[in-house]
């Protein structure tokens, strides 16, 4: 059971799955880092994005890897509008209200999806979905490898954006000191909306990378968001590198606990890590001191 022939592929698979988790977690941690809200609508938005990728393929014949260039900007706009015209105004500047508003949005989105598409599970079939790359003794699924590379590319692009652009500086300024940023002439509600848009675009990219090997139904996002919350806490709330490293760790933990404890208990590993981190290092691996 402990032979490297199983162990190495299991770890590699865990890393590849972890990269997809990272994309979902990146959006979540970004929104938390700036807006200081836990976005409960994140899972529902992932479901919407998966449906968008599904229908882009079914109706327009767009390959998900092409559709991502269309869906990600649309979801950026969707996120921007959601924050600017619904979450922002409805919360009256109180963080606790924002939390409740996102929860409400999640309920509305999930039920709207259920009403429109029913609870049916849908999949698309792409010729490359089950092709593999042979590296030594391990066969890696091509869509997973693409997802892995894309996750790092998105994280890198996000880091560039945050470090070297005016928007990025403004986002960081708002995250650090909202009032000060406002006094310096930064349009805070615009920056809030941009951040929410970026987080939503991350979810859209994750959806396009997932759909070739995964399925979609109205509640599919929930499973990922539970894992993503764990990752955000593990990596440190608001930390981009933390989300990335945390996601890879969680991916490997899930894969190995699936291997040793059985698929039915695979998630135990994730939540064990979650509890241990909360006990030993509550601010997370890369979290700033409170």
């Amino acid at each position: 059971m402990l032979s490297p022939a199983i162990l190495i592929p299991a770890i590699l698979n865990g890393l590849l799955i972890g990269a997809i988790y990272a994309l979902v977690a990146l959006g979540l941690t970004l929104i938390y880092g700036v807006l200081h809200i836990i976005n409960f609508a994140h899972g529902a938005l992932l479901s919407v994005a998966l449906f968008a990728a599904f229908f882009a393929f079914r109706l327009l014949g767009l390959d998900p890897y092409v559709a991502v260039f269309l869906i990600a900007p649309v979801f950026f706009a969707l996120g921007y509008l959601l924050q600017r015209f619904i979450i922002g105004p409805a919360s009256h500047g109180d963080d606790r209200n924002m939390l409740l508003v996102t929860l409400g949005i999640a309920v509305v989105i999930e039920n709207a999806l259920l009403y429109a598409f029913r609870a049916d599970t849908r999949t698309i079939d792409l010729p490359y979905a089950f092709q593999t790359i042979d590296i030594g003794s391990t066969l890696l699924a091509i869509p997973r490898v693409v997802g892995f590379v894309a996750a790092f590319a998105v994280a890198f692009a996000l880091w560039l954006l945050m470090t070297f652009t005016d928007i990025g500086r403004a986002v960081r300024a708002v995250a650090k000191e909202k009032l000060g940023a406002e006094l310096a002439g930064i349009d805070v509600s615009h920056i809030y909306a941009v951040t929410f848009g970026l987080g939503t675009a991350c979810v859209a990219i994750a959806a396009c990378l997932l759909i070739p090997t995964y399925y979609v139904n109205p509640t599919v996002g929930d499973a990922f968001v539970l894992v993503a919350f764990t990752i955000v806490v593990l990596g440190g709330m608001g930390s981009v590198p933390g989300a990335l490293i945390g996601a890879l760790l969680i991916g490997v933990a899930e894969s190995l606990s699936g291997l040793f404890l059985g698929e039915s208990l695979g998630q135990i590993g994730i939540f064990l890590i979650f509890i241990v981190v909360l006990l030993v290092r509550p601010r997370g691996l890369f979290g700033a001191r409170a």
């Binding site: 592929p9 599970t121 999949t123 079939d125 699924a141 291997l259």
Partner: protein
């Protein structure tokens, strides 16, 4: 049901607006008009057409309504007239099914056909029993469905006990004929009642047939990823893999095995979620090749079955077992109605209990109901050969010989 005596403004407008179209197609139900012509026989058609089991449910409804349309097209039931289908959706849950039985009872149906899943059938037959409403189970294989002494419950197809017994005997016979190439087995099963129950049974019985079980791997439904499971299979290299799971997971497992280039001497399933599915064979022919299954299947030598297959495929639908099992069940009920010469529930129950119906599409022995179970019902063994699904056992119905072990 709207008040029959008073026609409201809305009903009046609807009737006049759609009247012509409805009269032409005869497909839009207009209760007030139909009632005026004398009561047709009402038949409840109950399936999980939404939710997790929606695909199977919709296929079941297709089979039942095809049969009803055929019977009505030929003038209905002799002496009783046409069948009026009352469609119901069990929403893939036992509660949803029970609620539909209540509605159908109020609507005055003479009989209900359907249910599909074992847990739904257990609940719906029980609910129908309260009203002494005859209920014909279309698929539901759990043995408990017909062992509770419910007089209203009839199952035309085989139950789990018969299916697993046949499956084990046929596996041994296929292996013996090939010179016993398979000695080791791995079982991959979903962890609810169906998969776990089957795994337990296999673990008890396969060693008696001379097989060694290397490992039994459970997994939840849904499972996102079968890589770890397939890695375990790859490491232990069993001669035979026995999957017991539902369609999505079955397909994912088979495709992951193909992806990781795991090729055991055979994949043999019992009521395999996808193994006897034209959908699977058409969409993933490589992954499906040579898979064997012991399952419900139609009699490939029956001309009526072949004609129905053409008709269903002409509608761009797959000819799945839900279709022909429901189709056969409706004809079973029609035969009983004709002999009872009445839509009365008690008379129909008696007619079903004494049925010797032979006009079905299944490879069964003579129809004989004992405590509601058709003793003639039996599964067959199928195998995916030449991008088609062939019957390989029993030889009396077979249209191909089993290919085992799979060619390299």
């Amino acid at each position: 049901m709207p008040n029959q005596g008073n026609l409201s403004r809305r009903q009046f407008l609807a009737t006049t607006a759609f009247g012509t179209a409805a009269a032409a197609t005869g497909s839009i139900a207009m209760p007030s008009v139909l009632r005026a012509q004398g009561a047709p026989v009402k038949l409840g058609v109950l399936h999980p057409v939404t939710g997790a089991l929606s695909y199977s449910g919709q296929q079941g409804r297709l089979g039942a309504t095809l049969a009803i349309d055929e019977i009505n097209g030929a003038g209905g039931i002799k002496g009783l007239g046409k069948i009026d289908a009352v469609l119901g959706d069990a929403q893939s849950t036992p509660d949803g099914g029970t609620a539909e039985v209540e509605k159908m009872n109020s609507a005055g149906v003479s009989c209900i056909v359907g249910g599909y899943a074992s847990n739904i059938c257990l609940a719906t037959t029980q609910a129908a029993a309260r009203y002494e409403l005859p209920y014909v189970v279309d698929v539901g294989v759990a043995d408990g469905i017909v062992t509770r002494g419910l007089k209203n419950t009839f199952r035309f197809g085989p139950g789990f006990g018969v299916i697993s017994k046949t499956a084990l005997a046929n596996l041994a016979s296929i292996n013996d004929q090939a010179g016993k190439p398979a000695k080791t087995v791995m079982i991959v099963h979903e962890d609810s009642l169906f998969g776990s129950g089957l795994a337990k049974l296999l673990n008890a019985q396969l060693p008696q047939q001379g097989f060694e079980i290397l490992e039994t791997i459970p997994h939840p439904t849904p499972t996102r990823d079968f890589n770890n499971v397939v890695l375990k299979i790859k490491a232990q290299n069993p001669d035979l893999v026995i999957p017991a799971n539902y369609y999505n997971e079955y397909v994912l497992l088979a495709r992951t095995m193909q992806q990781q280039q795991v090729k055991p001497k055979g994949i043999y399933s019992v009521l395999g979620g996808a193994a006897s599915s034209y959908k699977f064979v058409k969409e993933f022919p490589e992954a499906a090749r040579y898979i064997m299954d012991c399952n419900h299947w139609f009699d490939p030598r029956n001309e009526k079955a072949q004609a129905l297959k053409k008709k269903v495929e002409g509608k761009d639908q797959f000819f799945t077992y839900e279709v022909y099992m429901n189709y056969s069940c409706v004809y079973l009920i029609a035969d009983a109605l004709e002999r009872a010469a009445s839509a009365d529930r008690d008379k129909l129950t008696a007619a079903l209990a004494s049925s010797t119906f032979s006009g079905h599409l299944m490879p069964y022995g003579p129809t004989k109901f004992v405590n509601g179970q058709n003793e003639g019902a039996a599964p067959v063994n199928t195998q995916v050969l030449d991008n088609d699904i062939k019957v390989v056992l029993p030889t009396s119905f077979a249209n191909a010989k089993p290919v085992f072990p799979r060619p390299a």
